[in-house]
Subunit: 106 residues, 2 copies
Amino acid sequence: MIKVSVMYPNTPGARFNHDYYRDKHMPLVKAKMGDACKFYTVDKGLAGGAPGAPATYIGMCHIYADSVDDFQRGFGPHAPEIMGDIPNYTDQAPVVQISDVLVDKG
Amino acid sequence: MIKVSVMYPNTPGARFNHDYYRDKHMPLVKAKMGDACKFYTVDKGLAGGAPGAPATYIGMCHIYADSVDDFQRGFGPHAPEIMGDIPNYTDQAPVVQISDVLVDKG
């Protein structure tokens, strides 16, 4: 199983609407991707590792798929609509990473 | 529920032993933290978001706890031993972030 992590930098003054992201954007992603998205998780950045340090990312999601091909097949055709929704919740450009899930929650 | 993400930068030439991390280091973390660690996940970076782009992080773990206090109570006393094991699998210093889990796998 792979995961696609979409991580929004926590730059000073960054705008991020966590409610919209959780309640509107991510359900849109799931609806468009269908079964190609096995499930997803959503995080809100709280803090960094050192005392008083800010979180590196203000918000993140992780989209799980059986394979990179599955993800691309599910996401690609809807990319314009999904990415067009980004300005509705943030002014940040995300860092995107694809990872192999070596240990899952189970 | 909160998660503590430990993310190792994928710098050119970075050393990272994924087998050791999955099979030795993370079980050590769980054993030391006990119930303070509800569960954890482990990722291996495959690629970035753009074609041909490298992953931002070569390896990551995410440690889930009921609260930041729970995490700190479980991790703090064992931090020297756990962090002393880092050179056994990598030469990278991790980026650490604490997040509120807004949507979980369920």
